[in-house]
């Protein structure tokens, strides 16, 4: 479902007109399909000093049959660049990044990938090193805005000793799974990490629960989790049962008609997953509603229902989900937040409260020693403008602005959010917890 504008500028007339007027031309993004190569061409790999992560990246690329090159060859393109800046000592060292990445940009293929690898600034040994490390974020975010043709730039911060945990994040960010993830900072820390037998089925044998699975983003999440090998329990309110059944039957999972705000919702989910499928490995809290009003006109019902469905129900369900006998050790919780929870949105104080609250919850639980001690990760995704039935109802002008106000000049698809959720659900990604990944094409909102 491309936007009106995106469809127009990709016609012959539209292309010419857009070029003459200097209007953005949204590219067709490279998206993952089972069996597709990680990348369609060679990847330039380099870095500063010993660049220990560059070596790991080369191994990964070799395993996937992707060529790693030392320098961009004039006249032939590169599909991506991996720049290992983990060893920068002071801002002077950043020249390495400019010299490596700059000349390669003209050769970067459509939907190319720039991945900058660094270290968390707070772990720096000196103020100069902290400054240099933090500078990487500024470079990556600016670079993402310079890229064209659906290319993205993201920053991976690797904690000391967590080098072995970087494979899943690198694979995700290089692949078409991260089509709409742009200018994000992903921190990889310690944690139990287990590579899958088969990277095309990273969730094989897992049991996942997705709330709000009847339609839109939730249905796409169920699809992608099932594609990646999981058995999916699809949860939605009884009134949405018809669509829910469609999702469940499409993914070969089960439908559980359940209001997430019900007192016993968490226990019923655990019971269902345990009895029917033998356990629970992944929980995706996706169910959400909007009841927009300016705060001056907001009544208690609108305020309360949004907070109850989108946030308080998660807190209640987690009591059962994270209790013994619930989510298995080494499991994963993914919370669906929203860009509104970061940037705020007029008429959505209630919604933004709930979605910002979700981020707070992911940060707290994701770093909670008891939760981490069990090998459980907790993360959030924050979708930007995603093409759904909900956004299709937004008035034309507002909708087009929402679509275009980002570095990829287009709205994302539900599958883009779903791919990110599926990545955060991998055992291989056990080093990432407590983080928020925006799936927004580097939206200018809240940036």
């Amino acid at each position: 479902m491309a936007g009106t504008y995106a469809s127009f500028v990709n016609t012959a007339v539209g292309k010419k007109l857009a070029a003459q007027l200097g209007l953005p031309r949204p590219a067709r993004l490279r998206r993952y399909a089972v069996g597709a190569p990680l990348l369609d061409g060679p990847v330039l790999v380099g870095g500063h000093g010993d660049a220990p992560l560059a070596a790991r990246a080369r191994d990964l690329l070799a395993a996937e049959g992707v060529e790693a090159v030392e320098a961009a060859v004039p006249g032939s393109g590169v599909a991506g660049v991996i720049a290992d800046l983990t060893e920068v000592q002071d801002p002077g060292d950043l020249e390495t990044l400019r010299a490596l990445v700059g000349p390669a940009l003209r050769a970067l293929a459509p939907s190319g990938r720039i991945i900058v690898v660094g270290r968390p600034p707070r772990e720096a040994g000196s103020p100069a090193q902290a400054a240099a490390r933090r500078a990487l974020e500024g470079i990556t975010r600016s670079l993402a805005k310079e890229l064209r043709g659906g290319a993205t730039a993201n920053l991976v911060l690797v904690g000391e000793g967590a080098e072995a945990n970087t494979e899943a994040p690198l694979r995700f960010l290089l692949s078409g799974r991260s089509a709409y993830v742009d200018a994000q900072v992903v921190e990889v820390g310690a944690g139990s990490v287990a590579a899958p037998e088969d990277w095309t089925r990273p969730l094989a044998g897992k049991v996942a629960v997705v709330t709000g699975a009847a339609r839109g983003i939730g249905a796409a999440i169920a699809d992608v989790l099932a594609r990646d090998g999981a058995t999916v329990v699809c949860v939605d309110v009884p009134a949405a049962g018809e669509s829910l059944a469609r999702t469940a039957n499409r993914v070969g999972g089960t439908a559980l008609q359940l209001d997430v705000t019900a007192e016993e919702a968490g226990r019923r989910i655990v019971d269902h997953a345990t009895r029917r499928h033998g356990g629970l490995d992944i929980v995706v809290h996706n169910a959400g509603i909007t009841r927009d009003r300016l705060l001056a006109n907001m009544d208690e019902e609108r305020w309360g229902s949004v907070l109850d469905v989108n946030l308080r129900s998660i807190l209640r369900m987690n009591d059962a989900l994270l209790a013994p006998g619930g989510l298995r050790d080494g499991g994963h919780v993914v919370l669906v937040s929203s860009i509104a929870g970061i940037a705020g949105n007029r008429g959505q104080t209630n919604y933004a409260a709930s979605k910002a609250g979700v981020i707070g919850l992911a940060n707290a639980l994701g770093g909670d020693p008891a939760v981490r001690g069990r090998g459980i990760t907790v993360n959030a995704v924050a979708p930007g403008f995603i093409e759904t039935e909900m956004t299709a109802k937004v008035p034309f002008a507002t909708r087009e602005v929402g679509r275009l106000l980002n570095s990829l000049s287009q709205g994302g698809q539900p599958v883009d959010v779903a791919e990110t959720v599926a990545w955060l659900s991998q055992d291989a990604n056990g080093g990432v917890s407590g983080t928020v990944v925006r799936v927004c094409g580097q939206s200018l909102l809240g940036a």
Binding site: C234, P238, A239, A240, G241, E242, L244, A245, R246, A248, N249, R250, G252, G253, T254, A255, Q257, L258, A262, R275, R276, H277, G278
Partner: protein, 430 residues
């Protein structure tokens, strides 16, 4: 209490039905196949059966188009079940759904299949309309004709009156009386009062509304075409409101039957998942209850010897004798509310010394039923009654109610049917 009489009793694993819609309401443009398929899809989703080959799917419809000769198989092919799941249609008027469940349960008990689905669907909105008999005969003659002359002769048989179509009516072919008119005679025979009927109707609405309120149907129902609750349900129904309705069946003093205490024409479908305990356990599926026994009876209503809808009264003593039970042993009883007076006349007959002696050949009457055990989750007066879908609705709901009561509790199902027939079955909580 006698143990189950079958060697391997079939387990009721669960069910699914669509909310029932009033005729010409929300499902006006849905066919029986649409309804049955949607109902199956909800069941498949609830129990994770996508791609599974089940032993058999058995269902039917009362009002059926000739093109739907393979209705159930077509619904299976349109569902997410494996296309290798066989299916067949049954039809026993309003007994269709329950009879289908008995058939599947029997095959399971005999070891012929390990799993199966029983159900039914009906739409009074999408009823088949046939051409008049005269036109049909003319068209058949035309079809047989081989020469131009024969064709002209065949067509010359056309008459203006032939354009009037035949619409199915709720009428007994042998008496020309509607079911309501038959029931009015029986209600008079048993002295069933207007007040008693309205009382029962109000209780049906009250009980069904309460069942919805506590989320009872969350795992028994899947919404369809935006309908999430039975359209006929009036949660605010009361005896006072029902008392204001004008009678529609019977005459004068005896006219006690109204639109409020008779079931309306309804569209909907229901299915029940049955299997062996082992089949359920292998899939982590629950067993709510087991099918213990069943009995069908028929009465001679044509000569006026017995009321059209009184056959269940005759099925019960045979069932009780076989099981060594009394009516009062049942923890729950579901008597399909074709009309409020059907239920009340049946209960009155079981209490009647003469009826039980002369008609049922019993030395003592069957006796009274504790009304707090009757139709506790509401029945057809509130939910509506898409003919063939009622059996599946009751089997799934009763199995769940019995499970809530506790292991070993028993329930009785009674469904009257056109043609003077009645189907009964006993379930026991697992």
């Amino acid at each position: 209490m006698a143990q189950s009489s079958s060697p391997r009793p079939a387990a009721v694993i669960g069910g699914n039905r669509l909310p029932f819609a009033r005729a010409n309401g929300s499902y006006a443009n849905a066919s029986n196949q649409d309804l049955l398929t949607a109902s199956l899809e909800g069941l498949v989703a609830r129990f994770g059966l996508a791609g599974e080959r089940l032993g058999e799917v058995v269902a039917g419809a009362v009002l059926k188009h000739s093109r739907d000769f393979n209705l159930t198989r077509e619904a299976v092919l349109g569902s997410s079940l494996s296309a290798r799941t066989p299916a067949f249609d049954v039809q026993q008027a309003c007994g269709t759904g329950l009879e289908a469940a008995v058939l599947v349960a029997n095959k399971i008990a005999l070891g012929q299949i390990d799993s199966g689905v029983a159900g039914g669907t009906d739409t009074a909105s999408d009823a088949p309309i046939a051409v008049s008999e005269g036109l049909r005969e003319t068209l058949l003659r035309l079809n047989r004709a081989t020469t131009a002359g024969q064709r002209v002769r065949a067509l010359s048989g056309l008459r203006p009156g032939h354009v009037v179509p035949e619409v199915p009516r709720n009428v007994e072919p042998r008496t020309g009386l509607s079911m309501g008119e038959h029931m009015a005679q029986t209600a008079k025979r048993w002295g069933i009062t207007r007040e008693a009927q309205d009382d029962l109707a109000a209780a049906s609405h009250r009980n069904l509304a309460a069942a919805y309120e506590r989320g009872f149907f969350d795992d028994l129902m899947t919404p369809f075409l935006g309908v999430a609750r039975d359209e006929n349900l009036r949660a605010d129904s009361s005896v006072e409101k029902l008392a204001r309705l004008k009678p529609v069946f019977g005459r004068g003093e005896d006219a006690t039957m109204t639109a409020g205490n008779s079931t309306p024409l309804t569209d909907g479908a229901s299915v029940v998942l049955l299997g062996t305990d082992e089949w359920a356990a292998e899939r982590g599926l629950p067993v709510l209850a087991h099918v213990v026994d069943a009995e069908t009876a028929a009465v001679d209503y044509v000569t006026g010897n017995e009321g059209l809808l009184m056959a269940p009264a005759y099925a019960l003593p045979r069932l009780l004798e076989r099981q060594g039970m009394a009516l009062q042993d049942f923890d729950l009883v579901e008597i399909h509310e074709a009309f409020a007076s059907t239920v009340l006349a049946t209960l009155a007959a079981w209490e009647d010394v003469e009826f039980c002696r002369d008609r049922l050949g019993l030395s003592a009457p069957i006796g009274a039923l504790d009304r707090s055990r009757l139709n506790v989750g509401g029945s057809s007066l509130a939910a509506g009654h898409p003919f063939a879908a009622t059996g599946g609705r009751i089997v799934a709901s009763l199995a769940k109610l019995l499970q809530e009561k506790g292991s070993g509790s028993r329930g009785l199902i009674s469904i009257c049917a056109a043609g003077g027939q009645g189907v009964m079955a006993i379930l026991e909580a697992a």
